[in-house]
């Protein structure tokens, strides 16, 4: 790993956020690792990211680029022997990485909530959905069982479950995929957290339901003035739902900026590749869909220099030897030696 941490900017650049906004969550130089027989897997490798109050930030990248591990590092719920070995995650004046188990339990669910990808497996099959919603409120909001039940019924109604009273005592197998995710959302919003982490909340759903669920999350988050981190690989979701977008590759950030700017003027070849692999209305039938060649690097033995050079059409010797840092280009930042000039400047 060739990252030279001392040369990182002292004050993280706002990455396209409005300057008057206050950061709610600041991730600084996060390193999350797993020990395996093959070696140390660097799932998140020196990620710095600020989330500002009230914004929706999309975190995109291929599978295995560290998006989910970033979210689970924030929650302190890394699986197996995964550990955030270095860095800071500052939230409401606390470094979450140094919080005790008890402190984290007070934050999880109450201050930071998470919506998971697969609503079938992410909800307990042997517990009624009503209880799954109400139990967290009993703990965090110190509600009695009856009060929590009433609140849960309101929440069920609010997330669009018809006849909540009849549905309260149902089990998850009696719900459709979209309904399950609505329950998941009701759980996440139940204790009015400040920050919502949504890990591919619509990936497992039918296309027709995806938009409804996204709208629901957006609507509820706006209503509650909540900050949200949307983890996705769907550029359509980013375009439709997010204020800013951060692109991750091999555990680090390669580009971040306002959605419009990044989608219209992607600076990093990887971002361009991601956008290029989305079919557009202009493409003709029979056209081959663009795809980024090769596979993401092995997180046990990362290449030197830019982590993307193996797959990058523009890579040269410098890319192979020196790792680029995030630099400001227009409203966005990108970590690339070969950054394209923004289209509006070139024109």
């Amino acid at each position: 790993m060739a990252t030279d941490t001392s040369s990182q900017p002292e004050i993280p650049l706002t990455g396209g956020a409005a300057p008057d906004r206050k950061p709610l969550l600041r991730i600084h130089e996060l390193h999350t690792q797993f020990e395996t027989k093959q070696g140390t897997v660097r799932a998140v490798d020196g990620l710095s990211l600020d989330l500002y109050e009230g914004e929706v930030l999309g975190l995109v990248g291929e599978s295995g680029c560290g998006k989910t591990m970033t979210a689970l590092s924030i929650m302190g719920l890394l699986p197996g022997n995964g550990q955030a070995v270095a860095g800071e995650i500052n939230f409401e004046g606390k470094n979450l990485l140094q919080c005790s188990g008890e402190e984290m339990k007070k934050i999880r669910g109450a201050r930071i909530a998470m919506v998971f990808q697969e609503p079938m497996t992410a909800l307990t099959p042997t517990m009624t959905i009503g209880r799954q919603i109400s139990e967290a409120m009993e703990i965090h909001l110190a509600l009695g069982r009856e009060e929590a039940r009433e609140r849960a019924l309101e929440l069920l109604d609010h997330v669009g479950i018809p006849s909540p009273r009849a549905r309260f005592d149902n089990y998850i197998h009696q719900f459709s995929g979209g309904m399950r995710q609505r329950v998941m959302i009701a759980i996440a919003f139940s204790c009015q957290p400040r920050l919502l982490l949504a890990d591919e909340p619509t990936t497992a759903l039918d296309v027709t339901v995806q938009a409804q669920i996204l709208d629901l999350i957006k609507h509820l988050a706006q209503e509650a003035g909540m900050t949200a981190l949307f983890i996705t690989h769907d550029m359509g979701i980013v375009a439709g739902s997010c204020d800013r977008v951060a692109v991750m590759y091999a555990g680090r950030m390669v580009e971040i900026g306002p959605v419009d700017d990044v989608l219209l003027n992607p600076r990093h070849p990887y971002t361009q590749g991601l956008l290029g692999s989305v079919p557009s209305l202009e493409s003709k039938p029979g056209d081959r869909l663009y795809s980024i060649s090769g596979l993401p690097p092995d997180l046990v033995s990362l290449p030197t220099g830019c982590k993307f050079w193996l797959r990058c059409p523009l890579a040269d010797d410098r890319c192979r030897e020196d790792e680029p840092e995030l630099e400001q280009y227009g409203q966005s930042q990108a970590a690339c030696w070969k950054v394209m000039p923004p289209r509006d400047v070139a024109a």
Binding site: K106, F116, T121, A122, T126, R131, E135
Partner: protein, 321 residues
């Protein structure tokens, strides 16, 4: 399922009884059996001179009629004194000679004993299993698993007497050595513990495996993401799912406890069904022995059925039509 199983068990026990080495006539007559006239007379009285098929049909008729027949001791034989009498423990009041009364009376005692053993198992073995799973691969885990292996490996006829020596002779916690004085008497404690140690390992292991399997599930992560205390995560989100395989084992164990408490009942001199089986087998009291076997088969079938019904209580996805 029930009826064919019972008929097959009846056929097997009856056939074994018919061709087996023990002669009921001799059992009834005792010393007198060499008197040929007496022998033929008793044989006719017992209906044993008829062909096999007739005897079997007659037997089935008696059983399904709910009578279950009479103990050979009713014919004034030695059976009741020679073997049965030896086993009479404190509190045993089996004066009836009807097979049904004898079996049911003894079964009640075995059931009470098994009940305590089952309570002991469900409370301690499941608790230990959960603890071992939560503290997976730590000293606590190893200690629990190892001690369960040891406890279950020592046969009841070793553990029983050792406990008797310790708690009756050395530290006199219990006054009497054995016998039965109702399920709420102190005499019930030691035999129940000994009875529970055998299946202990199965339940501990099964619980541990069940919880370990659930530990990595997404819904457990969701429960933690809600900030639930670990104790509630285990109790509400993990236990029910993890208990499904344990329930299967508990069903088998229950049948085993009810039907296989032979050693424990013998050691602690408890007049349960296990002891009745031994006594009647040794004394050649066929009608009673066959009744015991048949009833035990019934128990196993019934417990299996109950187990299946209980799945529905644990797993909401199971429904019955």
């Amino acid at each position: 399922m029930l009826a064919p199983t019972v008929i097959i068990v009846m056929l097997i026990t009856f056939t074994l009884g018919y061709y087996g080495p023990i002669d009921p006539v001799r059992a009834v007559l005792g010393e007198e059996w060499e008197d040929e006239a007496r022998y033929a007379e008793v044989k006719k009285a017992l209906g044993l001179d008829r062909p096999f098929v007739i005897q079997f049909l007659d037997y089935m008729g008696t059983m399904f009629g709910g009578h279950w027949g009479q103990s050979l001791s009713a014919f004034g034989g030695v059976a009741s004194d020679r073997a049965v009498g030896e086993g009479r423990g404190a509190g045993f009041s089996g004066t009836s000679t009807g097979v049904r009364e004898m079996v049911l009376g003894r079964l009640a005692i075995s059931a009470q004993l098994s009940f305590w053993a089952l309570v002991f198992l469900t409370v301690f073995a499941i608790l230990l299993g959960v603890l071992a799973a939560v503290k997976q691969n730590t000293t606590v885990d190893y200690a629990i698993v190892t001690s369960s292996i040891i406890a279950s490996s020592i046969p009841a006829y070793v553990i029983g007497p050792v406990l008797l020596i310790i708690f009756v002779l050395k530290i006199p916690v219990f006054k009497t050595v054995g016998g039965w004085d109702g399920m709420f008497s102190r005499q019930a404690i030691l035999p129940a513990i000994v009875l529970a140690t055998g299946p202990m390992l199965v339940i501990v292991r099964q619980t541990r495996a069940g919880i370990v399997e659930v530990l990595g599930k997404d819904f457990v992560r969701t429960a933690r993401a809600k900030g639930m205390p670990e104790r509630l995560v285990v109790a509400r989100h993990m236990l029910r799912t993890a208990m499904i395989p344990v329930l299967t084992s508990l069903g088998l164990v229950t049948s085993g406890l009810l039907t296989g408490s032979l050693f424990v009942e013998q050691i602690f001199n408890i007049p349960g069904i296990g002891k009745l089986a031994i006594q009647t087998l040794m004394s050649g009291d066929h009608p009673v022995f066959m009744g015991v076997v048949l009833f035990q088969a019934l128990i196993i079938v019934t417990v299996n059925l109950l187990t299946d019904l209980l799945y529905g209580g644990l797993d909401p996805r199971v429904t019955y039509d």
